[in-house]
Symmetry: C2
Subunit: 460 residues, 2 copies
C-alpha cells in the first residue's frame, strides 16, 4: 500500500465484507499505521483508486479518510495527496510482571479473614435493596467523605461496639486502612509533621506508604506490654495497634495505655489502627483508645478483616481540629463506591453485621483453638504468645533459624509461613518466631499445616 | 458518684435491667467519664458499695471495673481505691458543614449522565453473577492495578471503541479520573516534572488536585481549534481533552492534533482526559490521541459519564516506561472494589455495555437537539458553540453579564446555570457564555429551563 505505487499493497487491507465496512477499513488502516507497516510520510492511494481496488464505493473511502484525518492518522497536503501522519510510539511493552506464585495449600498468611464464609447472599441482598430503593442521586458524585448513611451507621456502631466518642461529621470513608493512612499522612506532612513513630515489628506496607507521602518513619520497641511509650519523646505522632499489636499479638497494658494518653498533649497525635479488634476470644474486646482522647486520636478501621478486603471499605475517625483534612484535594478523589457504602450501612443498621460478626467470631475462635492445640501437639518446644484474639498469632519457635530457609522448607511442603523477622524494620538474619494467620484455614488444614511446619523445622 | 462520698451519685448510673447489665454499666461509666460528669482523678465507689447501690452482684461490678481498667478509663492505686483515669478530649465538634443546597428543578449541571437511566437491574444481575460465580480469592486483597478481568476487557473495548493501542498490563484501574490524575501527578513530581499545562478554561477540580500533589499548573489558551499547542514550549506535560474540550466543546483540529503529537518528543507527556468521547452525535467519535503516540500519552477514562459517577470506576492507560508507577506506595492503596470491577468486566464482555451506550447515545442526542431548539426559540441572540457531542454544550449569550447575578437570577427560578467564567483560571467579572449540561434532564425540563434562563437574562 503506497510502497511502490499509490495503489500497490492495497490487498494488505484484505477484503471488506458484511456491515460496517467503513469501520473495518478505518481500523485496519489505524492498525497498519500504528504497527509501522505504513510508515510516517507514506503516500496513500487516492480515494478513487482505493475504492476500486477494494470494490467499495468511493464515498466510503472518502468518509474513512475524513475520519482518519480528523484523528491525525493521515494528513492531506494541498495538491500532493494523502500521506500517513506522524506517529510517536510503538516501543514494546515492558510491563511489570507479577511473579508467579507457588500454590500453598496451607497458607498461614496473617490478616486475611475466611473468604469462603463471606456472606455473599447477604451482601447481594443488601446491594439489591440499595439498587432498587435508592434515589437516583445516590449514583451521582458522592460526598468525598462518604455517604451520610454509612457515616451515620458507623458512628452508632463504633460507639456501641468499640466505645468511640464519634460524630458522623468526623468520619471519612476510605478504600481501606492503607488509603486512610496515606491520606492522613499527607495531611500530617502538610501541617508540618516530619516524623511518625511506628511499632517495630509492624506492617511493612504501612511503613512504605507513610514514607512515600514524605514522613520520616521511626521504629519504637514493642515488648510484652505493647509499644514502649518512653521512646516517643520528641515525636509528634505515632501509629499503633493497641487492642492487639500487629504482629506480636500483645495488648497494650493498662499502664502503657495511661502513659500513651498522658503523652498525647498539645498537637500530639495517636493513629490507632483498630484492624481486628472485633475478634477477642477470652473476654470482651477492649474499647478503643479513641474514646479516651478523641481530640488526639485518629482512629482507623475497615471491613477487610470482618467481611472481605476486596470490598475496599474502611474509615477514619478524625479529631475535630483535623476535620478539614477531608477535602477532595487531599482525598484526591470523590471517595469510594456508593453502592458498597450503602450496602454496608444497611447491614449495620439491620444488625446483620453483628450477626455476621458473631458467627465469624465463633469460627475464628475454633480455628484459634485448633492452632493452639496443634502447636502443642506437633511443634514441641514452641509456644504461642500474645492474647487470644484476632486472625493470627505469634508462635515462638524452640530455636532461631534462617527465615528464608524456613520459608522455603515450608513452601516445599505447600505451607506458607511468615517469619517475625520480616516485620522488623531492620531484618535480622535469624528468626525465632512465626506470624501465623489461622482465620482462612479450616481446622483440619490448620492441624496438617502445623504438622508440616514441624517437619520443615526438623529438616533445617 | 464520688462527688461527696464514694457511693453518692451512683443513682446517676440509673437502673440496670434486662440482659447484658455489665455492658450497660460499662457504657454508662465510659459516657460519664468522657463527657466530664466524672472528671479525671474522681474516686469511684468500691465494687462492693456500687454493687449494693445498683442491686447487682459484686462480681458484675468487678468485671466491669476490670474491663474499664484494661481500657484506661479507670485506674487502681494500691491501697487507695479506684479513680477515673486521665482523659484528653471533649472539645466540641467543629465539623465541616456542607452548605445547604437550593433545590434546582432545572439543573443544567454539566458532566452528569442521566442517573435515572442507570441500568440498575443490569448492574444487579452482573453483581449477582460475580457474587455467585467468583472464586473466594476474588474477595481478597486485590492487585492494586485492578483485576485482570477488567483490565483485559477494557484493553479490547478501548481498542475497538476508542482506537487505543493498549496492553492490559499497562492499564491501572482507579476510582475515577480525579484519583487517576492525582496518582499520576504524584508520579510526575517524583520523576522531576515541575509544571503541567492545562487547558484554560478547564475543570477547576483537576487544577486543584494537580496543584495539591505539588505541580505548577499553567493555563494554555483554548480557541475554536482546541488548545493552542504553540503555548506548550518549555513545559513537559499537558492535560487535555482532545475529543471534546471541557468545557468549550470544541474538538482539537487535525492541524493541532498533528502539532501536539509532533510536540511530544523525548520525555514529554500528553495526559488525555477522554471523559465523554463515547457520545458524538454528528459522526463517528474521533479515535483517541493515545493510538497515535502510545509512548507519550497517559489516557484517562471512567464510567462516570457512561454509567454513574457513584460507581467510582475509572482507568489510566500508561506509556510502557511509566508502567512502574502502579505500585501500592504510589496508588496509596490496594485499588477499587473488586465486585464493581468484575461487574463492569462482565458488562463489557457480554456487549451489554455497548447496548447501554447505544441507548444512552440516543437519549443524549435527543436531549442535545432539544437544547439546541430551545436555545434558538427562547434565547434570542444566543448561539450554541462546539461540536455535537458529549453531555453538555456551551451557549454564547447575546451580551456579557455578571456571572453571580445571572446564577442568582436563574436559581431564583429553580434553574442551575454554570457560567463559563467559573472554569477560567483567572475569573473575569463578566461572562458571555454558559456551560449547560443536558444529559440528566428530560426534554420538557430542558425547554422549560431554557425559557427560564431567558427570563433570568431579561431580568438582569
Amino acid at each position: 500500500l503506497g510502497s511502490r505505487s499509490r495503489t500497490a499493497g492495497a490487498e494488505l487491507l484484505g477484503e471488506l465484507s458484511g456491515i460496517r465496512r467503513q469501520v473495518q477499513l478505518e481500523s485496519r488502516l489505524r492498525k497498519f499505521i500504528r504497527d509501522g507497516t505504513l510508515a510516517s510520510e507514506t503516500p496513500l492511494p487516492s480515494s478513487r483508486a482505493l475504492a476500486s481496488t477494494l470494490r467499495v464505493s468511493r464515498g466510503l473511502v472518502v468518509e474513512a479518510y475524513t475520519q482518519l484525518r480528523a484523528e491525525g492518522y493521515i494528513v492531506t497536503r494541498h495538491g500532493a495527496g494523502t500521506y500517513v501522519g506522524v506517529m510517536r510510539g510503538g516501543s514494546p511493552v515492558a510491563a511489570p510482571t507479577s511473579r508467579p506464585k507457588t500454590r500453598l495449600r496451607f497458607d498461614f498468611f496473617p490478616g486475611r479473614p475466611d473468604l469462603a464464609s463471606f456472606p455473599r447472599e447477604l451482601w447481594l441482598r443488601a446491594l439489591r435493596n440499595v439498587l432498587r430503593g435508592s434515589a437516583a442521586s445516590a449514583l451521582s458524585y458522592p460526598d468525598p467523605r462518604g455517604t451520610p448513611e454509612l457515616r451515620g451507621a458507623l458512628a452508632q456502631y463504633l460507639n456501641r461496639a468499640r466505645g468511640l466518642a464519634v460524630d458522623p461529621e468526623l468520619i471519612v470513608i476510605v478504600a481501606g486502612a492503607t488509603q486512610g493512612l496515606a491520606l492522613f499522612g499527607r495531611a500530617l506532612v502538610r501541617s508540618g509533621f516530619g516524623d511518625i513513630a511506628v511499632e517495630n515489628p509492624g506492617l511493612p506496607s504501612h511503613r512504605s506508604v507513610l514514607a512515600a507521602v514524605g514522613l520520616g518513619v521511626r521504629g519504637v520497641t514493642v515488648d510484652s506490654d505493647g509499644l514502649d511509650v518512653g521512646e516517643l519523646a520528641g515525636i509528634g505522632a505515632v501509629l499503633c495497634t493497641p487492642a492487639h499489636q500487629w504482629p506480636t499479638g500483645v495488648a497494650l497494658s493498662p499502664a502503657r495505655r495511661a502513659a500513651l494518653i498522658a503523652w498525647a498533649t498539645g498537637e500530639r497525635l495517636i493513629v490507632e489502627d483498630d484492624y481486628d479488634a472485633e475478634f477477642r476470644y477470652d473476654r470482651a474486646p477492649l474499647a478503643a483508645l479513641q474514646g479516651l482522647a478523641p481530640d488526639h486520636v485518629v482512629y482507623v478501621g475497615s471491613v477487610s478483616k470482618t467481611l472481605a478486603p476486596g470490598l475496599r471499605l474502611g474509615w477514619l475517625v478524625l479529631p475535630p481540629r483535623w476535620a478539614a483534612v477531608a477535602t477532595p484535594e487531599l482525598l484526591n478523589d470523590f471517595g469510594s463506591s456508593t453502592l458498597g457504602q450503602l450496602a454496608l450501612a444497611q447491614l449495620i443498621e439491620t444488625s446483620a453485621y453483628d450477626r455476621h460478626l458473631r458467627k465469624a467470631r465463633e469460627r475464628n475462635r475454633s480455628r484459634h483453638d485448633a492452632l493452639i492445640s496443634a502447636v502443642a501437639e506437633h511443634l514441641p518446644g514452641a509456644r504461642v504468645s500474645g492474647i487470644s484474639a484476632g486472625l493470627h498469632t505469634l508462635v515462638r519457635l524452640p530455636f532461631a533459624c534462617d527465615p528464608d530457609s524456613l520459608t522455603a522448607a515450608a513452601a516445599s511442603r505447600e505451607v506458607g509461613v511468615y517469619p517475625l523477622s520480616s516485620f522488623l524494620i531492620e531484618r535480622p538474619n535469624a528468626t525465632d518466631a512465626l506470624v501465623l494467620g489461622y482465620a482462612s484455614l479450616p481446622e483440619s488444614a490448620i492441624v496438617e499445616g502445623i504438622k508440616r511446619i514441624g517437619e520443615a523445622l526438623a529438616a533445617l
